[in-house]
């Protein structure tokens, strides 16, 4: 099978790879590029564990072909923390015990980043609907919502 050559940017770094035409970007990320912070929970766009930012917009890596990354800019969970340390969203998830098993956490953090980039001061309902595509089976979402609220406050103070 002929593979396709792709040049893209992931977390600010130029990345090249060969992928099968029908391969999902999630498979490429995880199995070929070994950027495994992005998780697979369903591979059908129903759980949000593979949330990434495509040109700044929140998408599921499982619903995007590897070839579609050509010329685009992607951010994964590995690109959220900076050289200065954890992003405030990550810090608040820790402080608020907003994770239990942790498998959905990277997806939630990426989705939260997209939310707060767009809407720095979301109310609870907005947070819950924005994150409705991210399934968490451990927490009942309570502590996640609180962590997002706290992160929004923190970011507002920093700004």
């Amino acid at each position: 099978m002929s593979k396709v050559h792709v040049q893209t940017t992931i977390n600010g770094e130029a990345v090249e790879y060969l992928c099968e035409p029908q391969q999902s970007f999630l498979d490429v990320l995880r199995e070929d590029l070994l950027k495994q912070g992005t998780k697979e929970g369903c591979a059908t766009g129903d759980c949000g564990a593979c949330s990434v930012l495509l040109d700044g917009r929140l998408v599921c890596a499982c619903l995007m072909l590897g070839v579609e990354a050509e010329g685009r800019t992607l951010t994964t969970i590995e690109g959220i923390a900076s050289d200065d340390g954890l992003h405030p969203i990550q810090q608040k998830f820790l402080e608020h015990a907003a994770l239990q098993c942790g498998i959905c956490t990277p997806g939630f953090i990426v989705a939260t980043k997209a939310l707060l980039d767009k809407n720095p001061n979301p109310d609870e309902t907005t947070i819950r609907y924005w994150l409705a595509g991210n399934l968490c089976r451990c927490t009942g979402y309570d502590k996640i919502v609180r962590a997002v609220q706290a992160a929004a406050e923190e970011l507002a103070q920093e700004a």
Binding site: M1, S2, V4, E20, P21, Q22, S24, A43, T44, G45, D46, G48, S51, L54, R57, L58, V59, C60, C62, L63, M64, L65, V67, E68, A111, A114, L115, Y129, W130, L131, A132, G133, N134
Partner: protein, 293 residues
């Protein structure tokens, strides 16, 4: 059995050529827009090799025009992009709501109303709204384009009028005038993330006295295709779109529906709820047309 391939033609003509070439060679080709249905299919039972033809590189499929008389929405524009367009949201609130109901935030970042229509699911959220907003499908063909009212597009569960070699460029809508507005409501068991169990879109035009002079009603997930219900529209026209008229329109929707029982709901349930949603959506469309928010 062939192999998978991916192409992203630069022009409409090239796209049509690729599609026709495959059709004439008996090889499978499939158009990729947002991919939110296609990738699920690849992952599931329909994983046969094919050529994936990406239409996102085309100018035409990315064109969004809000003209004095006409609105054009390219087939590759993601729902989230549409929803961020405040002008469009004010003009076609029901359509935009329907596109904002598809899947999650993540899915809205990719999915398109064109793809939603072409996937031709009976439960597609945007299709009833496209229909009531008098959407016209602009279809690229080997001889240019052809146009078709959206209500005539779907022919069955997962099937539509697109001939081999054709693809949807975008959708045209008449720009709604004063006194015209739309609404779409769907029923799902959760608050998000579900496929519509029932969907109803209503578009009404009211005159200065609040009397309905024109109406379109379409229902989803209650028949093999999204369905226009002229009888429901007739029940609204000439009325103040009051509770009685809405109830009558709801009954017409129930009568027009021929739902199945499946994992998402029973036929009986769908017949009842389509009437409820018709009433509720009709009231919203009425209030919007009257400028009541």
């Amino acid at each position: 059995m062939g192999e998978f391939a991916y192409v992203a033609p630069a022009t409409v003509a090239d796209t049509v050529a690729v599609l026709e070439e495959h059709a004439s060679a008996g090889k499978r080709a499939q158009v990729l827009a947002g991919g939110t249905d296609l990738l699920v299919q690849l992952r599931g039972s329909d994983n046969e090799p094919r050529t994936i033809v990406d239409i996102k590189q085309l100018d035409e499929t990315n064109r969004l025009d809000i003209g004095a008389d006409e609105i054009f929405i390219g087939a590759a524009i993601a729902s989230a992009v549409l929803y961020e367009n405040e002008e469009l949201k004010a003009l076609l609130p029901g359509l935009l709501e329907s596109s904002d109901l598809i899947g999650s935030t993540q899915i809205q970042g990719r999915c398109t109303i064109g793809g939603n229509l072409c996937n031709s699911s009976p439960a597609a959220d945007t299709t009833p709204a496209i229909i009531v907003d008098s959407g016209v499908c602009v279809i690229a063909t080997n001889s240019g384009t052809r146009e078709l009212p959206a209500e005539d597009f779907c022919t069955g569960v997962g099937t539509n009028v697109l001939a081999p070699g054709e693809f949807l460029l975008g959708l045209k809508f008449p720009r709604p005038g004063a006194g015209t507005s739309d609404a779409y409501l769907r029923f799902i068991p959760r608050t998000e993330m579900d496929i519509a169990v029932v969907g109803v879109a209503v578009n009404v035009t009211l005159d200065d006295t609040g009397t309905c002079t024109a109406a379109r009603v379409a229902i989803g997930a209650v028949a093999p295709t999204p369905l226009m219900v002229p009888a429901a529209a007739d029940a609204l026209i000439g009325t103040q779109v009051d509770d009685d008229a809405l109830a009558a329109a709801g009954v017409r929707c129930t009568e027009a529906s021929s739902p199945i029982s499946d994992k998402r709901g029973t036929a009986e349930y769908r017949r009842k709820v389509v009437a409820v949603l018709c009433r509720r959506a009709g009231a919203i469309a009425r209030d919007r047309a009257m400028g009541v928010s």
